[in-house]
Symmetry: C2
Subunit: 463 residues, 2 copies
């Protein structure tokens, strides 16, 4: 047995006579209820069955799947799902489990069921990023009140352990910044655009045909999925409550082939990043107010940066901590098996607590830092303009940057041939500045008489 049964966590396996009687071989048993039986749910059910002995050896108690709540029990299920376990009465099911696995997704009925499960003393493992990012504090409070575990490794970046490293491994350190490629669909799309030169529409279609994107890709391409994950990551990294609604969100729908080309020209690659960083408090640039900046937007990442090598539908989370330095966690961010792996890891961890007593980490929000508005976020811009090819234009453009307190790091001017006779392209990279100043600069540039058009505006991260 992995754990000596010395603890007194409520609902301990060995104290669970009812379930104990249910075993053939006797020995402690933990009753597991599964809510939802889609791609992830059916994989979890299958693994609980197939790996039963190994999991029992690792937990120190047998995990008995006592029911699977579904909406349509008649529907045909994946192999390995015992039809006799299916029920439509989720409310009843959660009251007879030591451990509830929620993979329904969405806010309701998931929230009600998770709260009800904890009220009845069950520990909960969920993959529900939307629910955690929407109403996390309420769930944490319910877990504390009930003295049970609430685990959710699968909610962020699928099988990649990122919740546990942030919650536990780095808990003795000070996380300064997290840059995440946390949405596989958009990473696949941007990677396609980068490698094949395809435009957004074609790349999205390709992703759909390969099953990397939903028929309605809104949640991914508009950055909602990444924003929910950013909120969860920021909450864990900064011991501060951050909700999805607090996250500045820009998807990839405005990204053009020209943007991707501009990034390539600059020796960079375009990624949709979830960015969580501390501001002020001596860590940010002087004068920045203390708080956290949490945002999701496309950004240019230098090809040398470890995140630039994250291809296809893979995910990676890059962490900068004061002591640990730079860390990166890389792997498959979605899919039935990877997500089920993360769920089962939490199931075993939570089950071990039931057997051995005690609980894992619960919410830590003591720092309570304010979430700063996007305008205050310190970033760099990479702007491509088309201007009149005549003397004085560069000075005129440079003045616009100066007027808005944005300082230019490099500028490259190239005459445009063909139909664009008399025009030139200007590619300007700025130094760090507040986003508001840079945005205002771009606005002024667009209005400047020297400028024919602003063809690409990209933020730069990871330099």
């Amino acid at each position: 047995m992995d754990e000596p049964a010395t603890g007194t966590g409520r609902g301990r396996a060995s104290g669970d006579a009812t379930a104990g009687d249910a075993t053939a071989g006797g020995g402690p048993v933990l009753r597991v209820a599964l809510l939802g039986c889609g791609v992830v749910g059916s994989e979890v059910a299958r693994q609980l069955q197939e790996q039963q002995d190994e999991l029992a050896a690792r937990v120190g108690a047998r995990l008995e799947l006592v029911g699977i709540a579904v909406r349509r029990p008649g529907r045909t299920r994946a192999a390995g799902v015992d039809p006799s376990l299916l029920t439509t009465d989720a409310d009843e099911l959660v009251t007879r489990a030591d451990l509830v696995v929620e993979v329904i997704g969405g806010i309701e009925p998931a929230r009600g069921l998770v709260l009800r499960a904890m009220e009845h003393g069950a520990s909960v493992v969920t993959a529900n990023k939307a629910l955690l990012a929407e109403d996390g504090p309420r769930l944490y409070a319910a877990a504390d009140a009930a003295g049970v575990d609430l685990y959710f490794e699968a909610a962020v970046a699928g099988a990649i352990p990122i919740v546990r490293p942030l919650r536990d491994s780095l808990v003795g350190d000070r996380v300064e910044r997290v840059l995440g490629v946390v949405n596989g669909t958009t990473n696949f799309v941007l990677d396609q655009m980068d490698t094949t030169g395809a435009d957004l529409g074609d790349a999205v279609q390709e992703a759909q045909s390969l099953g990397y994107a939903e028929a309605d890709p809104t949640a991914d391409v508009e950055g909602f999925d990444a924003a929910a994950k950013a909120a969860i990551i920021a909450s864990l990294a900064f011991h501060t409550r951050v909700r999805a609604a607090d996250v500045h969100r820009e998807g990839i729908t405005a990204v053009t082939a020209a943007d991707v080309a501009a990034a390539r020209e600059a020796g960079a690659v375009l990624k949709l990043l979830a960015i969580c960083e501390r501001t002020g408090g001596g860590d940010g640039p002087d004068g920045a107010p203390e708080g956290v900046s949490v945002r999701v937007h496309p950004a240019m990442v230098p090809r040398e940066h470890p995140l630039a090598g994250v291809r296809g539908a893979y995910n990676a989370v890059f962490v900068e901590a004061r002591g640990a330095g730079s860390l990166m966690f890389y792997g498959q961010g979605a899919g039935g098996a990877p997500t089920a792996s993360a769920v089962l890891g939490d199931v075993v961890a939570v089950a071990r607590h039931r057997v051995g007593g005690g609980r894992g980490s619960s919410e830590s929000a003591y720092a309570d830092l304010p979430v700063r508005p996007m305008g205050e976020a310190v970033t760099r811009y990479h702007v491509r303009l088309e201007v009149h090819d005549r003397p004085g234009v560069l000075a005129q453009v440079a003045q616009v940057f100066a007027d808005h307190g944005a300082s230019v790091e490099t500028v490259r001017q190239t005459p445009l041939g063909g139909d664009a006779q008399g025009a030139a392209a200007l590619v300007v990279a700025t130094h760090e500045a507040p986003d508001a100043a840079l945005a205002a600069t771009v606005e002024a540039l667009a209005a400047s008489s020297a400028v024919l058009g602003v063809t690409s505006v990209l933020r730069v991260e990871g330099v």
Copy 2:
């Protein structure tokens, strides 16, 4: 407070009157004893001081450093180390702590002190890879007997969370294979050789002048350090006891500039890998007996593989699991601050258990798989030969491979000019085969009348 004090773990902070009295502000206190005050130890001491309030908020109890055991108290210490805490009586110190941090390293006196600490009911956090790889099971047993935690994230790959992911995150999955770049010194040396064409001696000197290598680099370049880490990783990944002595070990001392060049020619890079894999049981090639293969040796890794991008003194651990698929953990594998970060993460985790009751994961060795000899390890060879440039030589060489059951995947022949008139270079890449067969093939090749010399023999991984 992060954890409600509902547990009954022995030596609970709130039950610790003595230490309780010691606080100014009152509230629960955990007494921390530090063994060793070198680069890591002094950093841990400094952080415990500097981050006192943050750590208290995360733990739910104040961490009070009650003593630092050193051999020479007179020696000048890093800033932030309170001289009044120094003591030479480590045996006494460990008896008055709730939590002992061991960063002395080596087998004795570390082992005796850790065992004594646990007998007295203290939880232990150690960075001592040598001790764990030498005598882990005895330490785990002592921790179980005492009902305390034994944590050691810092023992493998410094600040990179790898112990926790293997122990907890992937505990619901089946790990098939781990490839690790776990020694920063040798990775720096091989990276130098690859990028500058330097030979081994110069690269090692460079590493020494930059502080990446010890004056006596034996432990690193001969692979002892990596072997100890491989033993720990394999034990965690396969729920099986593996000792450093069980690990097949080849360092980088035999690596030549020619090997590095051969790798580059083949579109690969040379890395010293810690390789832990399941064999047989349906997972390995047919007929392979069930068990684990644990080895450390230089290997060619294709440039496209995520591990190939691990530059300089960085570390990375690449994990292949049945459900999770491919994962990689990347970061700084050594250094005072990164290692201290891992130690402090464990300190907080262990301290939370003292406050909240219960324990973390303990040893899981139920699988008890046999460690297979190197000869059975299934690998691929990349061999460079110089042969007589005459008809029939290729057939003769191919026959040698066939005779030993090693099948050739590709062969490239190029005439050698200059002094080597009448000679040609043959570069042969094999398919997978047991290491013994490939080694015997190379021996036979060296003895073959067709072969002038075997100039490079490299194993290939990650293809």
